[in-house]
Symmetry: C2
Subunit: 228 residues, 2 copies
């Protein structure tokens, strides 16, 4: 059984991605990042969400991206609400974040002999993030295979992005077919101190639309206590 | 005057690279990393070395790569001494380190509008590190231009590796022509607690050979107090 590293925030996309990796027969290493995100509840939630993946190894890696800033997720900028344009790159873009995370994942990959990296990016519902585009993923895969010891020794890294071309509704349906539990997944960029989602940021809007299109009630709405 | 980010350890290569960037007219941002390196004296020294670059901004970014390990520089493995083979990748390789560092540099680049990244890699005297190869640098440049906001907006990152094909002696001669002060540069991977270089690791051996071939006494040998 090969190891795979999953970039894991405990949101809908990364949770579904983890389920796909497990279904494909990989032994899971769930890598989450304490990067100074405004929505720190994500860290509590992701632990809870990870419990559904029996046998998985969880790693939390701290990297303080507030020292870089430049994003509404890592500084005091306002998170945009009910945003109109889906064309421009929003201020919730965190400079080079996913590149940094995937680079760190490749380092862990060399340690765990886990050359399959799972990344829950998707382009249809994405909010204009450049690091969710297939041409980025392809270039990074080449970079990893040229710049790492593993790559130099002929072992190939493979970045899997199984959600890349799915809508949020398709992702949710696919997850439910696999038995994914979405109850504790967290999406909101700007939750209240008790963890209650704002309902108006891009991430909340896309989540709500996804469940509506899938014709399913969001199970997280059934949580009596949101912040555990 | 454009900003440039220099990956800066305060060793011979990155110090010479900084001087080249300054000579090319860039305003310098010297980015160093507190990554849990065994040779922590590098952090003290790099500050001292940076003082020769008038007007430069210094940033120190902490990222604890000992949590990943897998290298003699970030774990309790022994640093090899007087190593014979230059063909295999040594245990001083830190998994994906330079990829991680350059990724973080690109994030700062987006903040500082510094799309010129200077990287002191070189392939002739290199110790077999895959991330010092031109094909890695080229692939990463493509990755940055596809995966960052700046890249998506048509601004091009450029990774400069001006030392890539120079020998250590050529690097030293070039630096001296530009007036680089090497007195406080640090190279050793495995210094004594007082900072005295071991003299036998790859980095010490390459340094000594470089000064010998350049026909110059290493000015660091004149330091009466090594650890300041």
């Amino acid at each position: 059984m090969s190891n795979a590293i999953v970039l894991f925030s405990g949101g809908i996309d990364s949770t579904t991605t983890a389920a796909i990796a497990q279904r494909e027969g990989f032994s899971l290493i769930l890598l989450s990042f304490d990067y100074g995100q405004r929505h720190r509840i994500e860290l509590l939630k992701s632990q809870r969400v990870s419990e559904q993946f029996a046998g998985a190894t969880s790693i939390r890696f701290p990297i303080d991206l507030t020292r870089i800033g430049g994003s509404a997720l890592t500084s005091s900028m306002d998170v945009p609400k009910n945003r109109d344009s889906k064309l421009e790159i929003p201020v919730t873009y965190v400079p080079a974040r996913n590149l940094i995370f995937l680079s760190i994942a490749s380092a862990f990959g060399e340690i765990y002999q886990a050359y399959d990296l799972f990344y829950g990016a998707n382009i249809l519902d994405y909010s204009g993030y450049p690091d969710c585009r297939p041409e980025f993923i392809e270039a990074l895969e080449t970079t990893l295979n040229r710049g790492t010891k593993a790559g130099a020794e002929g072992i190939k890294f493979h970045i899997h992005a199984p959600l890349l071309k799915l809508s949020k509704a398709e992702i949710i349906r696919r997850g439910l077919e696999m038995g994914v539990q979405y109850q504790h997944t967290h999406s909101c960029y700007d939750p209240a101190p008790d963890g209650t989602p704002c309902g108006e940021c891009d991430s909340c809007v896309i989540r709500r639309k996804g469940f509506a299109e899938a014709g399913i009630e969001d199970p997280a709405l059934q949580n009596e206590v949101r912040y555990e």
